[in-house]
Symmetry: C2
DNA sequence: CGAATATACATAGATTTATGATGTATTACA
DNA sequence: TGTAATACATCATAAATCTATGTATATTCG
């Protein structure tokens, strides 16, 4: 309760959430392609670390996404009891591996296209002036 | 009328619209920073060309965005009659130039972060396995 | 020891951004 | 002459994420 309030008072500067849209899925799939399996909280921590604190996935984004990816057969889930606490491990299904490849290549391609526009090579802005 | 139907039947493959989210604004601002002024239709064509047809901004996205950027003082608009047809030219305001710099650097920074995750350097995935 | 923090899951509702569908009208071209 | 291109506009809808909230266990530190 207190925590939530403090978090709101001291939001550390991340990216405007809009930029994230469409990138969460490939990011998560990429992580899962690097490890056998991961659980939700672990994914949040890993992304935070890999992005130097700049991308902090919210639970409200992550859990629904993991559920829907499981439902559509991209992921397979397995619940494990750690002491009295539950933990859900997710792994890529066979289909998930294909989805990952496609999702990543779309993202990579998209980034290239954006870069083409924001870092133009000489002559790209032929219409200039 | 016919056109609309055909367009729906032959949607040429662009990026899933979600990826675009958050990038349209910086892209448009970037274009406007390269030219004195542009009008809506011209922006759509320029983005299409610069992206080799991969990014086709829809009117339903562009015009409301241009309006809101004008309303918040980022852009200045000027209507011109071309024959009997109207054309609205947009240019960056002084404030708009600052907004452009900020918006572009946020996008560039964001892309770098994403690349860090999807093209990891040796050791980045220290947690691996 | 007790309180704060970290771990770990979950979901409902609000927000944001872009699109789809539609409308109007002029101009160019074949 | 009619089809495509130019050029504006708006409303309803969709999709993705976040905010806010809830629950509960485990760890750490003063």
């Amino acid at each position: 309760m207190y925590i939530r309030i403090i978090e709101r008072l001291m939001p550390f500067q991340m990216y405007s959430k809009e930029l994230l849209k469409g990138t969460l899925k490939p990011i998560i799939l990429k992580l899962l392609s690097e490890k056998e399996s991961m659980y939700g909280y672990e994914i949040v921590q890993a992304v935070k670390e890999l992005s130097a604190g700049k991308i902090v996935i919210k639970e409200g984004s992550l859990y629904p996404l993991l559920h829907s990816l499981t439902k559509d057969g991209t992921l397979e889930a397995e619940a494990v009891m750690i002491g009295k606490r539950i933990r859900k491990y997710y792994r890529l299904s066979q289909k998930g591996k294909t989805v990952t490849t496609e999702s990543l290549s779309e993202l990579q391609n998209f980034i290239k296209t954006i870069e083409q526009i924001i870092y133009p090579k000489e002559g790209d802005y032929a219409f200039k002036n």
